[in-house]
């Protein structure tokens, strides 16, 4: 199995549902968006418009973050998913510098306001659960919702098809512009999509990282 995602930018309508669904699912720290939609303006009036580029960790075959990490906190699973182990991370930020996609986030612990007793206000539900789930001073990132994939496989579900086995950003997308699945399976949604709409391109091909997240449209 080799999990991958293709994003059809011709479909994206810039609604940011993926960003929020990811945040709710992965309980990421306040300022960490694992799946942001990058907006940029192209063209000259009146031939101008905003381009939307949904992004996330590219789960690279040759991941620079793994090479750069001094503590061994970043690892690749056999199915290609790159994970950051917060228990091992020493907060060196080497991975953040190495990643060409800006996909790794340090939990700064700077959310809310510092109170006189040294504790912080945690203004959102997400802030509170993020504190339970993540460790301040370590990095975290998109996991392709590995926990959902694992849950799905344990329960006979198919990642990319069954919602509970599929990354949250894919499930929510109103325009269905994120397609997920097993790149090694010709019948998976991603393989079928690439056959119809491919070939896809990766971001920053110059980095030659063997990204498993790619783009069409």
């Amino acid at each position: 199995m080799r999990w991958g995602m293709v994003i059809d930018t011709a479909r994206c309508v810039g609604c940011h549902a993926c960003t929020i669904a990811c945040k709710a699912e992965n309980e990421s720290p306040a300022d960490a968006f694992y799946a942001p939609v990058v907006e940029y303006e192209v063209g000259t009036y009146p031939e101008a418009h905003t381009e939307y580029l949904p992004s996330l960790c590219n789960h690279c075959e040759d991941a620079p973050c793994i090479t750069a990490c001094p503590s061994g906190a970043l690892k690749r699973r056999d199915d290609g998913i790159v994970l950051a182990d917060e228990d091992v991370c020493i907060g060196s930020r080497a991975c953040m510098n190495a990643c060409p996609y800006g996909a790794i986030h340090l939990f700064t612990g700077a959310e809310g306001e510092m109170l006189a007793d040294g504790t912080r206000t945690l203004p959102t539900v997400q802030d509170r659960v993020a504190r339970e789930r993540h460790q301040v001073g370590t990095v975290s990132k998109c996991t392709y919702c590995a926990h959902r994939i694992d849950f799905g496989l344990e329960n006979g579900l198919t990642p990319g098809i069954d919602p509970l086995a599929t990354p949250a950003c894919v499930v929510t997308c109103p325009a269905e512009c994120r397609i997920f699945g097993d790149l090694e399976d010709d019948t998976s949604p991603i393989s079928l999509y690439l056959e119809r709409r491919g070939p896809s391109e990766v971001l920053r091909p110059d980095a030659e990282t063997g990204a498993h997240t790619s783009y069409v449209g």
Partner: protein, 866 residues
Amino acid sequence: METDLLGARSGTAYGDGWVRSTCTICLNRCGILAHIADDGVVDKILGDPANPHNHGRTCAKGDSGFEGLRDPDRVTAPMRRTNPDKGVGVDPGWTEISWDEALDEIAGRLAEIRETEPERFMFSTFDAFHLRGALVPSFIHGSGLPGYSTWSAQIFCGNNVHGIGYMNLNGFEGNPDPKYSKYIMLFGSQFGSVVHYDTMHATRTLSERRDDDDVKVVAIDPVCGAAASRAEQWVPIRPGTDAALLLGMVDQLVNELDIYDREFLLNKTNAPYLVGPDGYYLRHDGGDKPLVWDNADNSAKPFDGDVRDMALSGNFEVGGVKAGTAFQALRDHVRRYSPEYVEEVTTVPADTVRQLAREFGEASCIGETIEIDGVELPYRPATVSWYRGLSAHKHSMLNGLAIILLPTIMGAIDVPGGLLSDPYSLKGKVAEREYSCPASPEGLISQGFLGGGRVGGLYPPRKVRAPQTPEMFELLPVGPYGAIFYLLASENEEVYKPPPFPKMMLQYHSNLMKTSGPPDVMERFLKRFEFIVSVTRRPDETTEFADIVLPDLHYLERLVPFAYQHYASGDGDLAAYGPKPVVHPPFEGPVPGERYVDIMQIFLELARRGGFLSDVYESFNTIAHLKEPWKLDPQAEYSYTDLVDRWLQNEFGEGMGLEWHLADGLWTDKKTVQEKYPRPFFDARAQVYFEFMPKAGEDVRRVTEELDIPWETDDYQALPDWKPGPAYKRPPPHDLYMVNLKVPHHALGHTHKNPLLTAVASAHNDLRSVWIHPETARARGIVDGEQVTIETFEGRRQTAAARVTQLVHPEVVATQGCGGGWSKGSNSDEVNFNALLAIDEDHIDFLSGALDCVISVRVDSNGSGH
């Protein structure tokens, strides 16, 4: 029935721990599944895959909705004001009181005003999930306190949508057909980009079809927002001039290109009706039936007579009177809208006007058919979409009449690919619905009041009489509602002589201070009430003026049976479902011993204490069409859940009551081909010539002259024109047009204090900035990112960050959403667009009650970027 009143935690596609409910953050009301973590906390929300409306998808708002459950500023108990002074930013000095004390006082006041001056009570909400149902309306009607207003929705929303929808579509509004429309023109709307109605269905379907280049979307918009960015063509336009472009396109189609649906116009519209020199129909023997011309024997006959060769165009002489067809009048009327004139008004190049008309005409596939479910139907895959962008203008009603002409002359009404009505016209019980379309004696689609009687239709016009309500609604014979006149008349009582101002207001789900007019106007308005009750989840800009505040529920705590009959347009399925409690609130409700699951429990308790509960029950029997054995005995007493249970079983059948709702609660059905595309199946005619308008205008003129009230009646025209709004070509220095546009993560909802959405908005600097074209910025010495001051022609001011961008018309300053505010949790550095509006005669449409949202401004650098 023993139940904890929580939705079942199993039985959905996602398995244990997921509860089916309904997102009510915005009007799209998607089916959702909410997840309950082991600690009992709702920690995520996903779309309900079984729901045909949103088919398992959610938007950013829906994904983040659980945040509100643990809002630190939540109101958890009734509160009384201790500071008698009211004003913007004045601390009310809240002190907690018991439910008993609060309800007794409110009920006492209700009972008194009900006895003495019921017309001086105002009920205000935009709880759309109840308003289209039967429960809260039963309180409004049963209480005998009829004053009702949704406020902002009545000022900015469907002013030129609903009446026009019912006149030509037999529906509350029209939307493009996501599956079959091939050419979609968005006039200030963002259909298909998670910023409109039918949003999930439309977004997914258009995205799929774009893979095959099967659809062209053209966005006519001063600003290139999300929908225009995704559109195949963005056509920037000077704000408030769309009607000129629309009439220019009609001119091209009917006078130059000769593309229109002749058969449709003859058989399904009033286009062949004969119009005399006075602009009114020629009628058969002085009766109601308009005449048409039969070319076969060169004579005039009743439209439904034995006519062999009906004339669509031409001028004739009937009994010595010169007459022409309505369609001929339209053709003659639009000739003045040449592409060159349209360019002068709109800044859209004349060649582009010709291009759009030609493409629209060609894409309409006149004469072609398509087979749907084995039935051959007309195929007219070019259409339009509009809402506030075209409606919030001085000449709103004329704009609406102009836009409906385009799909009507092409026969693109409720057929595959055309403009589709929503199925409000489906009458009767959900499961045993019937399509109906009444026709007037003139043969025209005829709907008086819409939306359960609270929205006025366009045709036939209502009788004009002296104002009985503070919103002067009796002077709006073709308008849907008149909230704006509450403000105009109360600011100028000696001029408009409105009935006495309301004494008491009960409001919820309507933060009118923030969402209606500017704070100075709204402050004067709210201070005039002797007593305001707010039911709210968190203190906001309106509760600041309240005397008693009651705690409201989060939508994941509410129980509302089949919020209302639901739809996806075109070939989408029907569905009925509603919010049900996923969790209970962390505080007591209004009825001791009863779980607090809905605001209606407060209203029932007020009715009980106020002595008019039986009236509410009788009203419920009527509005919900309850039959035995589900009918209420007005002398008995029922809990809220009893009402829910009876209503559900009455609607869906025995055994499909509260228990079913909590365990399952999703009813779906396929549409028949007639429900999908009803137009070919009924005869009542749409209109391309609005003969009723001048007569309505005469009535308004006569009555207002008698009353000595100045009232504008010039727009009561049989055929629409473009007319300049107050901002049009205003001389310097206030020569820029300020407008706002919706962003997907804040559209149509109440999300400005949701921290997750705020975080996304902040990351894109969405709500703090104003967009300015580079040339415009350069001429004013404004650089990207600096703080600028916006000053309106009327002198209102705000500061904002300049975003210098190619995405906006050079004459325009644009801001996204309507942020800001000053209540706790507000983001005060956002632009509060509504605070810049002007409430005066120049900005109000006296036909539709719309307020012009094109603001004349100057924008100056603060020097911060230099």
